[in-house]
């Protein structure tokens, strides 16, 4: 019976899929690796379809046992789909990326060694992201974040003959471990004060809290440090540019979309109990302002597209933090969806271009002549990242600033307007390279059918959501109000 799928079985299915792929890799090493990726994509698509036939989860209040640390509310289901779609798109990019992979992984040119793992690891990450979307208990949050992070350790440093990648891997490993330490330490403080790790019970405990506010706040700040690392908020962003630039491009895309989105979902859930403290909002406003300014100003002089996108990901974290500071879950969710579409589209184009030339912006010179399709895809991605109306990126910014005006966050609004102006400059730099500059070479750039299809789908989705955003609102509708929006400040 198809209508009887329980939400947790989705993650189990994904994990089993990952293990199956590894097993097959071991027992039939001669198999063409592209088949791995394609079958993984197909299987994940099946799981994605399955998310539309879930049985309703037990009511939130009465939940015990497993359900006390795993929620299957619409927000969780929504971000499970988000994680699945991201992973599918990243796998498609990885297929395009295999030639580069073979160049930089020892011995793989002939033997295809290591390519199988490259396709299998994102599936484990995906399971971790899906658990993160559902986690409502600090223990669950921690375990799922670790599942994601540890698989990223391997992915980031996968092309290990490339010294930049190795550097990225080490940086990610060290700083990520450090942030995890902060997270655990923060969780223990919160646990010490409230006596529970369940977010719902923490809410109740904090409401009746008389004495130990400072201790609870201290724990929250430490948790914020740990999560700030995940979402690349200033001042925890130091790792971002180097790791993004050094990691294999599909992995960078995965980091900047999947890892960040899951971080924001957790942040939405974790901050909810703490928002009754007035200092918390102020703290988030400060972090948001810093993130906006740093991300946008540092992006201005970049000449390497991967680095530019790294700083842009910091900048977008700033806009998302505006939404967090206003506790507008709908705006944050929509922005993340828009961010997914436009970032993955630009990375998909970048994967193709970087095989031909490299990932400097100058390598895009004259792309409008060499491949009108890729140039148009990049144009749409950049326009959406900059926030041009009738694209998804604009509607995301619209909702964010909407929330900011409704909450009278004047500082955030002023900083936001200035940084939007900066954004136009550095995103249009790419457009300038593609159309204004003349091409150094004139031969066409081949694009595989699958990526062409993917890019077209992404372009259509960006424009469709820019004109008709209702689709996303409807997906969130049942719990809108319940979980996030009606969350009033005391």
């Amino acid at each position: 019976m198809i209508a009887a799928i329980q939400a947790p079985s989705l993650e189990v299915a994904v994990l089993v899929l990952g293990m199956l792929l590894l097993m097959i890799e071991v027992f039939s090493p001669q198999l063409e690796k592209k088949i791995f990726a394609l079958s993984a994509i197909a299987a994940l698509t099946v799981v994605l379809v399955a998310t539309f036939f879930l049985t309703p989860n037990p009511p939130a209040e009465a939940s015990t046992g497993f359900w006390s640390f795993y929620a299957a509310d619409p927000l969780a289901i929504f971000f499970k789909r988000f994680a699945l779609i991201t992973t599918i798109l990243v796998l498609i990019m990885m297929i395009d990326y295999t030639p580069i992979l073979r160049r930089f992984v020892p011995g793989s040119a002939a033997m295809q060694v290591g390519v199988g793992e490259f396709f299998a690891l994102p599936i484990f990450t995906c399971a971790g992201l899906m658990y993160m979307a559902s986690a409502i208990d600090f223990v669950m949050i921690f375990v799922s974040i670790e599942l994601v992070t540890i698989s990223f350790y391997v992915l980031v440093s996968f092309t290990r003959k490339n010294s930049a990648t190795l550097e990225a891997g080490v940086k990610y490993l060290v700083l990520s471990a450090l942030s995890t330490a902060f997270l655990v330490y923060g969780i223990t403080w919160v646990f010490g004060v409230t006596g529970t790790t369940n977010l719902r019970q923490i809410t109740l405990a904090l409401a009746n809290l008389e004495s130990d506010r400072v201790a609870a706040l201290f724990g929250m700040v430490l948790v914020l440090v740990g999560l700030g690392f995940k979402i690349a908020a200033v001042p925890f962003q130091i790792w971002v540019p180097d790791v993004y630039q050094g990691a294999p491009t599909p992995v960078t895309a995965y980091l900047s979309v999947g890892s960040k989105a899951a971080g924001f979902v957790v942040l939405l859930r974790v901050l909810r109990p703490f928002m009754m403290f007035p200092n918390v909002e102020r703290l988030i406003v400060i972090v948001a302002v810093l993130t906006l300014i740093y991300g946008n100003l540092a992006a201005l002089p970049q000449n390497n597209l991967k680095r530019l996108l790294a700083y842009s990901s910091i900048a977008h974290a700033g806009y998302l933090l505006i939404g967090i500071a206003c506790i507008d879950g709908r705006a944050v969710t929509f922005y993340l969806v828009a961010y997914l579409l436009m970032t993955l589209l630009s990375f998909a184009v970048l994967v193709v271009i970087s095989q031909q030339a490299g990932d400097e912006i100058a390598d895009f010179n004259g792309l409008g002549k060499r491949s009108p399709f890729l140039a148009f895809a990049m144009l749409i991605a950049m326009a959406s990242l900059a926030g041009v109306p009738l694209t998804a990126g604009f509607f995301g910014k619209f909702l964010i600033f909407w929330a900011a005006i409704a909450h009278h966050q004047t500082t955030l609004i002023i900083v936001g307007v200035i940084t939007v102006g900066c954004g136009f400059y550095y995103y249009l730099k790419v457009v300038r390279a593609m159309y204004w500059q003349s091409a150094p070479r004139i031969e066409n750039i081949p694009v595989s059918g699958l990526s062409k299809l993917t890019m077209s789908a992404l372009i259509l989705a960006i424009i469709w959501l820019g004109v008709y955003p209702q689709a996303i609102f409807r997906a969130l509708a049942p719990q809108r109000g319940a979980a996030m929006v009606t969350l009033v400040k005391p």
């Binding site: 002549k369 109306p389 400059y425 159309y435 204004w436």
Partner: protein
């Protein structure tokens, strides 16, 4: 039918990008659009109190956001202006060396954005349509521009992006200032709820709108993008942008500020008068000092915005109607002037006024057309600019008029009248040094404007003269739109 007018250029642009023959498709689409808008003009029902040709589609019910379009007198003439200028700009396009189809697609996107913005009754799409033109403008100037085109393209894009973002904040604030149960993006709905916006909120909203729209229209301290961009843009792009798209800001102010936030308009009147005098006097003097024809035209288009602002600031039927008609008239004349200037640049390779001269002998047609455009820009009788400027001045002068003393409105009007003299000085000087006098040897064998390119020029000239001699046909269409505005604000 209105939907057809809005989407014809956009669909044509998409077709061109998909591989349709660029010039033919663009031309057919724009002529079709001109014909459709003339039909709309004929079918327009003036006696109707509300909007004609309304159609509406729900987009986001939660936010009361819908795609709603409709026409009243004000938007009708802006629509007409857009289609006339689009047709002549597309027709006037010379051979394009590279990315030919992209050029026409960009032109059509700019045009479609302007038309959509003028026809939208929903704030969100009103805003979004205007922004549709942003990236195409960036490309138009960057790829096909001349001179210092890179800097100009950056400047206009970032200026307009930030300006429209400020505008967006104003629009959101406007929406949120209305009591929750009356919140809607529909301008008509907002108008009926506008009386419930508290006065101090009106001030903030209007200030944001004034700065946002002001940047888009090159109001005095925010003007520096305009001359540079128009000087570097290819002629058809300059025609469309200076003639049509720039009017969006003024259109927005007339459409939103007066009926929705009248207290704000009143509160900031003296500031606006100061800024618009900056446009008229300061920029006027700057224009006189220009040595190049394209820069002079760019600055003159900035300067003339001052008159339109004056008509808007006067906040009465006469002044607002004058402002609306001046938008139309100025759009035609500046498009004509940019067209001829572009042609001169293509032929002689320079627009430095001192190097030109005597071109009237070899290019009588261009000389005549430029002369008519210059006369119209000065505001000589016989052109719609004249009728409009008279209405603006009378409207502004009436404001706060007392027999025994001059109010600041009267002082502003008198100072603004000097602007007419200033524009006479620079226009006639430019005309003399380009077309009169002795002709340099190297240009004595230049041919006149090609026959095919004469058609769009003639179209603009005919439109100008027609509405110059019969401005009443316009006033009758436009002024009822404002009558409803001022009756609502008077009844409070």
């Amino acid at each position: 039918m209105l939907l057809l007018i809005i989407f014809t250029p956009i669909v044509a642009a998409l077709l061109i990008m998909a591989g349709a023959p660029a010039r033919r498709t663009a031309l057919v689409a724009s002529i079709l659009n001109l014909a459709l808008s003339l039909i709309a003009l004929a079918a327009f029902d003036r006696s109707r109190q509300s909007f004609n040709f309304v159609s509406s589609f729900q987009i986001v019910p939660d936010l009361h956001l819908s795609f709603t379009v409709g026409l009243d007198g004000l938007s009708l003439i802006m629509l007409l202006l857009a289609t006339i200028v689009t047709t002549s700009a597309v027709w006037f396009t010379d051979r394009i060396e590279n990315y030919e189809s992209a050029f026409y697609a960009c032109l059509l996107f700019v045009s479609g954005g302007a038309i959509g913005a003028f026809a939208s009754l929903d704030l969100f799409f009103f805003y979004a349509f205007h922004e549709l033109a942003l990236i195409p403008t960036f490309l138009l100037i960057g790829i096909w521009g001349v001179g210092n085109r890179f800097a100009a393209a950056w400047k206009i894009t970032i200026y307009l992006a930030v300006g429209s973002f400020i505008l967006l904040l104003g629009l959101i604030l406007l929406y949120q200032s209305v009591p929750p149960d009356a919140r809607t993006f529909d301008m008509r709905g907002l108008k009926s709820a506008a009386s419930q916006i508290p006065p101090d909120a009106q001030r903030n909203i209007y200030l944001l709108l004034l700065i946002g729209f002001g940047v888009l229209v090159s109001l005095f301290p925010f003007h520096s993008w305009a001359p540079e961009a128009y000087a570097s843009a290819p002629a058809p792009a300059a025609m469309l942008h200076a003639g049509v798209l720039k009017k969006f800001g003024l259109y927005g102010l007339l459409r939103l500020a007066i009926p929705l936030v009248p207290a704000g308009v009143q509160y900031w009147t003296s500031l606006l008068l100061l800024l618009l005098l900056g446009n008229i006097i300061y920029i006027g003097l700057v224009t006189i000092a220009q040595k190049r024809l394209d820069w002079m035209l760019g600055y003159s288009s900035v300067m003339h915005m001052g008159y339109i602002f004056l008509g808007f600031a006067s906040a009465n039927i006469l002044g607002s109607t004058g402002a609306a008609i001046l938008m139309f008239a100025h759009g035609l004349s500046i498009a004509l002037l940019f067209a001829i200037a572009g042609e001169l640049r293509a032929r002689t390779g320079t627009l430095v006024l001192e190097e030109l001269g005597g071109l009237g002998k070899v290019m009588p047609f261009a000389g005549l057309a430029f002369g008519l455009g210059a006369f119209a820009a000065i505001g000589l009788p016989g052109f719609a600019n004249f009728a409009a400027e008279i209405m603006v001045f009378f409207g502004a002068f009436q404001n706060g008029w007392e027999m025994n003393r001059f109010h600041y409105f009267q002082i502003a009007t008198v100072l603004a009248l000097w602007g007419v003299v200033i524009s006479a000085v620079y226009m006639l000087r430019a005309y003399r040094s380009a077309f009169m006098g002795s002709i340099p040897e190297r240009w004595s064998s230049l041919a006149d404007v090609r026959a095919t390119l004469r058609v769009p020029v003639t179209l603009l000239v005919v439109a100008m003269l027609w509405f110059g001699f019969f401005p009443q046909s316009f006033v009758r269409i436009v002024s009822p739109a404002f009558r409803t505005y001022f009756s609502t604000s008077a009844s409070r």
